[in-house]
Symmetry: C2
């Protein structure tokens, strides 16, 4: 029976995929990959490049990153129809998504449309903040500690409450909310306890430990994440 697979590619390095994810990509007949800008190169596709069979059909599809929900829904509906048609034809189909499919992924919108129509299976991936923590070898949580993951675009009071209540706080997509985040971290005297990583595990990776040198006008990569380690003394900060 043909099936649809959603596969998390992990943060960027090809060998940070799970073995299950790799084997599914090697097996399927058709691979869908998201393209955020029309004609832009898919980062997810670059990650899985070593595992692509030469006879694999690759369908790079445009997912508009806009505020217009009508436009987004219409794109998801079109891609859903195309995938359902492929699977009903008897093709095994995979869709690849950065990081983990269940964490801030457009894949969720595709999945909710597909799951009543065809059989679906979703394969975990390593989230970027998880890789950042392992790469720097600074534990996210030990013993009775807790951690929270928030979009930097969340409202200021939500971010403040998390920073006050929770031991380790991960702020995703900080590039669009840098002035607000820097203001809060400065007021709570947490700049020394924060790291900023862009393009984790990719060739273009940049790491800043302690944010005293960071300026609110600085331009950050779209894939920028902060981790606020309230309980850790960061070396090099």
């Amino acid at each position: 029976m043909a099936k649809f697979y959603g596969v998390g590619t992990g943060p960027g390095a090809s060998d940070l995929l799970t073995i299950r994810g790799k084997e599914i990509i090697e097996m399927v007949d058709c691979l869908y990959t998201p393209e955020s800008k029309k004609g832009g190169k898919s980062l997810a596709l670059q990650i899985v490049d070593p595992y692509l069979r030469t006879d694999l059909t690759i369908k790079q599809r445009h997912f508009p990153m806009v505020n217009d929900w009508e436009q987004k829904r219409s794109a998801w509906n079109e891609i859903t129809e195309e995938i359902v048609a492929d699977v009903k034809k008897g093709l095994n189909v995979a869709f690849i998504t950065l990081g983990d499919p269940m964490v801030y992924s457009t894949y969720s919108y595709l999945l909710e449309r597909l799951s009543n129509k065809i059989e679906t299976e979703t394969v975990s991936g390593i989230s970027s903040f998880c890789q950042i923590s392992n790469n720097l070898q600074i534990p996210l949580v030990i013993d009775e500690e807790s951690y929270a993951v928030l979009p930097a675009t969340a409202d200021e009071s939500t971010i403040r409450t998390a920073l006050e209540q929770i031991s380790t706080i991960v702020l995703m997509k900080v590039s669009t909310a840098l002035p607000k985040i820097l203001k809060i971290l400065t007021e709570l005297e947490l700049l020394d306890h924060t790291i900023l990583v862009s393009d984790s595990s990719m060739d273009s990776e940049k790491v800043m430990i302690g944010l005293n040198e960071l300026n609110e006008a600085d331009q950050l990569s779209y894939f920028s994440t902060m981790i606020v380690y309230k309980n850790r003394e960061l070396k090099g900060s």
Copy 2:
């Protein structure tokens, strides 16, 4: 140059290891594995079993799970000395740990002892709650949502605040704190929004969607996790 590698095995299924983790296990000369009870079988070792070379030296070492910190420190110090000696002899050494090495792992205590003495590298793994969410295909977070990971043994006010402020809450190690957690979830009317999974991705996996049937006297596996999805309607609950 010989080196030490800490490798996250992921939640339980052998093919949920990363490719990098698998390749390191296939390469090293010596593999350390934790054993929680003296003479007990190491779950981490069972997970990586397909990747063990026949000539690999396996050193199963006892990590006491007790409240006596002196006893724990003394065990970590002993294992540290042994690993450092192996690496200085020119052996490549790996240590395996369940889930992700940076999330509630005894590995943190080993790493802080090793990192000034020998070269160390740590490889991410899939956390159990991440696998639970992917397996059930219920997104942890979308759009502006946030999630938090707390030990169920945290104090009641911390858990309550997180449940009130954060969209999705993961409670780890619920087996030892079931009455308290059930009381809080009942009061906040969240039983219908909670799933309970024991032994995720293992043969013995059990899933309960909606907790109305759960009794505070029920005995749960040590590897039991709850996810409270405040924003999701759970099918089957």
